[in-house]
Symmetry: C2
Subunit: 114 residues, 2 copies
DNA sequence: TCGACACATTCGGATCCGTCAATGTATTGG
DNA sequence: CCAATACATTGACGGATCCGAATGTGTCGA
């Protein structure tokens, strides 16, 4: 699978979207500081087992959506804004208005080929 | 699963990303016209069985990423630019720079709680 | 040094996804 | 009408995904 699809797959799980939203707001319980949140706070918020949260974070880090930062016993996570900007830019490529004229006129409705 | 995650899941398959790219360029073989492409052209391009393509298109239409338009025996597909704009806007929400000051100072590093 | 803590990894089971083969439905040309 | 066309739907299979329980790794306080 290509990197792009991998990244979207990381975004295709409700739990991971929720985690990303927590990281964005960065107002979790006790271990947060500025824009980073530690794993234990995420675990408390999403109400899932610790291995499950660890698994999701690994997925988010591997795709580059989130950066991890080890500090002693604690691991802090942070939104990687660059990755989100790149992804948003990709989607914006589908928004630009269609410019006709490229298509060959003989193509239009030429279903005799089949 | 919520709608947002559903949409990202639709984007998490390389075949579907490829199909979307074909729709964006709209220069497939014989049945295309302006910005719409018929199912048979997609089938020829992605080199997959007809049911597989149909399944993927259903997925893309259900999530709103693509609009379908029946015309006689043919079904034309078209990028839904509004949906992509909305999705890009969602991702852009993660790009905006973090504004500190909201967080309570007592929170920072208070790991005694555990 | 030793136990408690924070987190990562592995494993097994249940569920979901992508694919093809077979079949169904609707439209068109003869 | 009837056969051919374009596409949708169903069923079944292999593989991937998500989860918790058990276990491993590295760090810190006592």
């Amino acid at each position: 699978m290509n990197d792009l699809a991998m990244t979207f797959k990381a975004l295709s799980d409700p739990t991971r979207v929720r985690i990303l939203d927590l990281l964005k707001r960065a107002d979790a319980a006790c271990c947060s500081k500025d824009d980073r949140v530690c794993a234990c706070d995420l675990e408390a918020e999403v109400k899932l087992s610790q291995p499950a949260v660890s698994h999701h974070m690994k997925c988010l880090v591997q795709t580059g959506l989130v950066e991890s930062e080890r500090e002693g016993r604690f691991t802090y996570y942070r939104i990687n804004r660059t990755a989100f900007a790149r992804l948003a830019s990709f989607l914006d490529g589908f928004v630009g208005s269609y410019v006709p004229g490229d298509a060959d006129a003989t193509k239009t409705g030429a279903h005799d080929v089949h």
